[in-house]
């Protein structure tokens, strides 16, 4: 946006929705606005916040000027390759690297024995090692790392490393993991099976709740595992300088966690390590923890004194995984005759793969947000995560809340139908109220759930269509909510979750230092917009320096939908302090009080008499002359939110976003093929900082949900991932992606920066059940597992009409045995 395009201050109050031209997949966008619940932060109104426009870094991205981790080349560098297990579960008897070391061009080889340090992203499950010490737990588990002068030599050397295995029985399913006659992946004398984590929570009087119900609905569901499939494969460049300092350029969403764990694993002071997160080519949760290749590259750079680069192949990305857990559910809901929920009992079984990752948190998340969408007066949750000999599962967009949302929204439609209720009105009637507290102690503040349901259903004429379309056509609704950052950090500490430094240059430029990582989600533009709004400059005047542990204050990272809320608030805090300094010196010049100083359009002025003004540059220089260098710090620490029970740390968030999606589908009744014709998604983003960006996040969420709803699978055969490539692992192509209409709902959150919440993950959640509900509407039969493949559609129709084969019923294990103490 150029200067002359900035709106004048008089017209800048709550600028209205955009009028952008239609693009292919996106029909149109509208912004529903509600009167702010409190006076706007800026007496002069917004001049940047709420505008639509391209992300600041989109031009360098699409022209190839951004340098990703794999684009970094250093003089004298080496290339690393990891040898990975060919066994799903085995003891390593012997590793012989001598032949490989003898290969010309090979510089070093390390194995697990060289770095025998256990770590884990969650302090509660430190069960990983950079390379296997004595046991491999999935096909793809790293065993050794070779560095050589070039990649092909490194690869050739891998073939020369000899590994002798003693195979162990592999545990390949949740049922097998619950058995007591199979070996444990991680020895645990307190158990006899492969359960990693059990959670049992009860809130309110569940028994009484079910007793008072008029109807009880019980269903079993299965949500298939999926992977993130970012376009950028993971990569790292490690350099150990003559100054004995280690620098890592890593494709990571969480430079701070890599910094911490690299220090622990390498046994180096954190002060000697610098982690830089270059632009990341998509993360979606798949780059939120330290990976073996990053730590191995760091170790080998130190060992050899030469820079080491490791870039994973696509197959290795499937092995590094940390994708969505496959989860089985048992869902029991008691309702009054009018649909009012009296109690819910949710049981989940998560297939965790071989290591802990974020799995303990995921387990809690499969139960934690059940209560944040609809009123639930009594709630029981039993969660159980198991270890299996598969790549480790972890967080993927919607972390642990996506799977139960599929079950909950599916069953809710069923309840509405059984009770003869309109599925949209029903949802609105039981929706949680703003400024309420859930039975499990979660604080809900702003909540636009009803507005979202209205917006999405009115736009699509849902009520006129549902249940009334010809067979083969269907419409489905689902709603959901998501966190704006976890209220508690993953390692206990009392420090801020986000910090920022804002420096004002005497030339009028503003630099912000933030520890976030830019994965394409738009954090750079968000930070620039918040700072530009605060200081009255243009976003293009703001330079964002991110993800560098030497330069930027700690930010926990780009995950958990926390960046706009937390890093945004920290940046706003810092910018407000700078604004205050500038306002004071300008006020002195104008001869008015500092609260009469306005900032907009690169000018600083007297709000009482706008003729009296100066350029931002003049104001900055005046302030610098008056106060010295203008550089201010800001930080954000969420309020204390956790209730007083074990496990209460997962679920609280300073705010929740809300979404509602309506899917319209056509089903080919002969082939079972599903064509999603349109997705309309209304999202309560709190306040929209940049409409283009929010729409982009909504579209991305819809796209990702579409794949999970219809096609993505995580199959194993003979202990091995069956399809670790992007031809056989199906994600939707542009031809499979329907028109998407994004509707932005604003509720002005009291604690979010300028009222903003999140858009990164929330919009994915309702898409999958909305499609499932639309398919059910089309074929008059329900499918209880993802993905909803053509084959399942045919079987469900066959079963419904009683003709041939029955659809294989989803079953869940009988309740896991209690922990023997």
């Amino acid at each position: 946006m150029r200067e002359q395009e900035l709106p004048s201050v008089s017209t800048a109050t709550n600028p209205d929705g955009d009028a952008r031209p239609l693009t292919s997949a996106v029909e149109a966008s509208s912004v529903l606005r509600r009167a702010p619940q409190y006076p706007p932060d800026k007496p002069e109104g917004f001049s940047v916040v709420g505008k639509a426009g391209p992300k600041l870094d989109s031009f360098t991205r699409v022209t190839g000027q951004d340098r990703f981790a794999d684009d970094i080349f250093l003089p004298n560098m080496l290339f690393g390759k990891m040898l990975r297990s060919t066994q799903a579960h085995a003891r390593i008897l012997r590793i012989d690297t001598s032949k490989a070391l003898a290969l010309p061009g090979v510089v070093a080889i390390v194995t697990g024995a060289d770095i025998p340090v256990r770590y884990g992203i969650l302090p509660s499950s430190p069960d990983e090692m950079v390379m296997a010490l004595d046991t491999v737990r999935y096909v793809g588990d790293p065993i050794a790392c070779v560095v050589a002068d070039d990649e092909l030599t490194a690869e050739e050397a891998l073939a020369l490393v000899q590994v002798e295995y003693e195979p162990l029985p592999a545990v390949m399913s949740i049922d097998e993991a619950l058995r007591t006659d199979l070996p444990q992946l991680h020895p645990n004398p307190r158990r006899t099976n492969n359960i990693h984590k059990e959670v049992h929570l009860e809130f309110g009087d569940v028994e009484a709740g079910f007793a008072s119900a008029d109807r009880i609905f019980e269903d079993e569901y299965f949500f298939e595992g999926t992977t993130h499939a970012p376009i950028e494969q993971h990569a790292v460049m490690a350099q150990y300088g003559a100054d004995q300092k280690l620098t890592l350029w890593a494709a990571t969403q969480t430079p701070h966690y890599l910094h911490r764990i690299a220090a622990a694993v390498l046994g180096m002071p954190a002060s000697q390590i610098r982690v830089i997160a270059p632009p990341v080519g998509g993360g979606f949760g798949g780059k939120t923890e330290p990976f073996a290749h990053e730590l191995a590259a760091a170790f080998l750079a130190r060992k050899t004194g030469r820079p080491v680069k490791i870039t994973l192949t696509r197959q290795e990305v499937f092995y590094a995984h940390r994708g969505r857990h496959p989860v089985r559910f048992k869902l029991k809901t008691g309702v009054k005759a009018d649909g009012t929920i009296t109690a819910i009992h949710l049981q989940s079984w998560l297939d965790g793969g071989a290591y802990g990752s974020y799995g303990v948190a995921t387990t809690y998340y499969t139960g934690a947000l059940t209560t944040v969408t609809y009123k639930v007066p009594a709630y029981k949750f039993d969660g159980c995560r198991v270890f299996t000999n598969k790549p480790p599962c972890g967080p993927k967009r919607g972390h642990g809340t996506t799977q139960p949302r599929f079950a909950l929204e599916n069953q809710l439609d069923k309840i509405a139908d059984a009770l003869g209720l309109d599925a949209a009105e029903y949802r609105k009637r039981i929706a949680v109220d703003p400024n309420s507290t859930t039975v499990n102690g979660l604080r809900v503040t702003s909540c636009g759930l009803r507005e979202c349901i209205d917006a999405a259903t009115e736009r699509t004429r849902y009520k006129e269509k549902r249940g009334k379309l010809a067979r083969g056509r269907g419409i489905g609704l689902a709603a959901s909510s998501y966190l704006c950052g976890a209220g508690l950090p993953i390692y206990w500490n009392a420090m801020p979750q986000s910090g920022a430094i804002v420096k004002v240059d005497r030339g009028g430029g503003v630099t912000v230092l933030s520890g976030t990582s830019e994965c394409g989600q738009g954090s750079t533009s968000m930070l620039a917009a918040i700072i530009a709004e605060t200081l009255g400059v243009d976003p293009s005047d703001v330079s964002v320096c991110y993800g560098d542990t030497d330069l930027t204050p700690v930010d926990l990272g780009s995950y958990s939908s926390r960046v706009t809320f937390m890093a945004g608030n920290a940046a706003r805090d810092a910018a407000s302090k700078a604004r205050h300094l500038i306002a004071q010196s300008a006020a002195e010049r104008f001869g008015v009080g500092p609260d009469r100083v306005g900032f907009a359009g690169r000018r600083v002025f007297d709000l009482g008499n706008r003729e009296r003004s100066m350029t931002f540059i003049e104001a900055a220089q005046l302030a610098e002359a008056r106060w010295g260098t203008i550089a201010c710090v800001g930080s954000y620490t969420p309020p204390k939110l956790a209730a007083e029970y074990k496990g209460s740390g997962v679920g609280p968030s300073p705010a929740y976003s809300y979404s509602a999606a309506v899917a319209e589908v056509a089903v080919d009744l002969e082939t079972g093929e599903i064509t999603v014709e349109k997705i309309t998604l209304a999202h309560d983003v709190g306040r929209c900082i940049n409409a283009t960006n929010v729409e982009g996040q909504i579209e991305g969420g819809v796209y990702m949900g579409l794949g999970e709803a219809l096609m993505e699978e995580w199959p194993f055969r003979a202990g091995e991932h069956k399809i670790p490539n992007l031809l056989d692992y199906k994600t939707p192509t542009s031809l499979d992606t329907p028109p998407i209409e994004a509707i932005i709902v604003e509720t002005d959150d009291k604690e979010g920066p300028f009222g903003a919440k999140e858009a990164g993950q929330g919009p994915l959640n309702p898409v999958i059940p909305a499609i499932a509900n639309a398919v059910a509407d089309a074929i008059r039969a329900r499918i209880h597992s993802t993905p909803i493949t053509p084959e399942k559609v045919l079987k469900a129709m066959d079963a419904a009409s009683g003709t041939t084969l029955r659809l294989k019923k989803v079953t869940t294990p009988s309740k896991p045995s209690p922990v023997p103490v």
């Binding site: 990975r84 297990s85 060919t86 066994q87 096909v139 990649e151 092909l152 690869e155 891998l158 192949t313 696509r314 197959q315 002969e670 082939t671 096609m711 003979a718 091995e720 069956k722 399809i723 670790p724 490539n725 031809l727 056989d728 199906k730 939707p732 192509t733 542009s734 031809l735 499979d736 053509p790 084959e791 045919l794």
Partner: protein, 330 residues
Amino acid sequence: MHRLPPFRYEAATSAASAVQLLAAHGPDALVVSGGTDLYANIKQRLFTPKVVVGLRPARDMHYLRFDQSRGLEIGALTTLARLAAEPVVCERYPALAEAAASISTPQLRTMGTIGGNVCLDTRCNYYNQNLDWRQALGYCMKKDGDICRVAPGSPKCVAVNSSDTAPVLQAYGARIRLLGRSGEREIDIADFFMDDGMRAWAKQADEIVTAIHLPVPAPNTVSAYRKLRLRNSFDFPIVGIAAVMQTDGGGRCTGARVVLNAVASKPLESPGAARALVGTKLEPDALDAAADAAYATGKPLDNTSGSIPYRKRMLRVFARRTLEACAAPR
């Protein structure tokens, strides 16, 4: 995938020079046209050629011409994109244009050629994998191993023919021209394809495909190609049906060829389907009977995406739809 390993690239300036280069380098050499299949396979280490003979510079194989007496002659280096767009193909051989247009993605169709398509390596999801993946599983008969993972009792590999143009060309009664050290020959394309996943073409190592020749369609010829895939782009067929039929002036079917795709190592002709059509007026009953025959012919195995029962069930649906498309008045 792994990186492309080093090999020597030798440009063939003509079909004849390609044959010479192949003969000179023996079994160490492979030919490449568009490279959309070969290079991916090399990256997975399914092939490790020392020499790759590039056919694209051979101008004498880049042509497409139609002649009322000769029919259609397609040089082997004709791209799929051109085939799909060429007016004479769209008008006279619409099923071929449909098949070409349905292959993979626009980018790959711009590079991929008809010669490469008919010589597309047979596919199997135990085989089209990286070296280390195959090693972890213990390999299979088609590459480095000794048993077939799909059909352990089978004496031969059952990897599937996945070329979309192959069944269509066979249904049109195409002939294929080969050039080798011992000269040029032209054979019926049905004899070119063999039902063996490891030896899928009746072609000598030093022979290349130089052209494909389609006869002039008889008056009142109708044709169609339909394929099942899981996504609307990118994906190989997991069931395909090509049909070409002739009718007399009164709408009675006088000849038919129905060829199934992606259910065997070669395009699989269903003579039963043809019998069910010939002599009828292509009434719904006749189409049903032909679809039933096609259904009985195809026996999908577990080596592509999609389950066996689903693909089997889809054979009938797709056969019926292909035949309906042919029978539809135009």
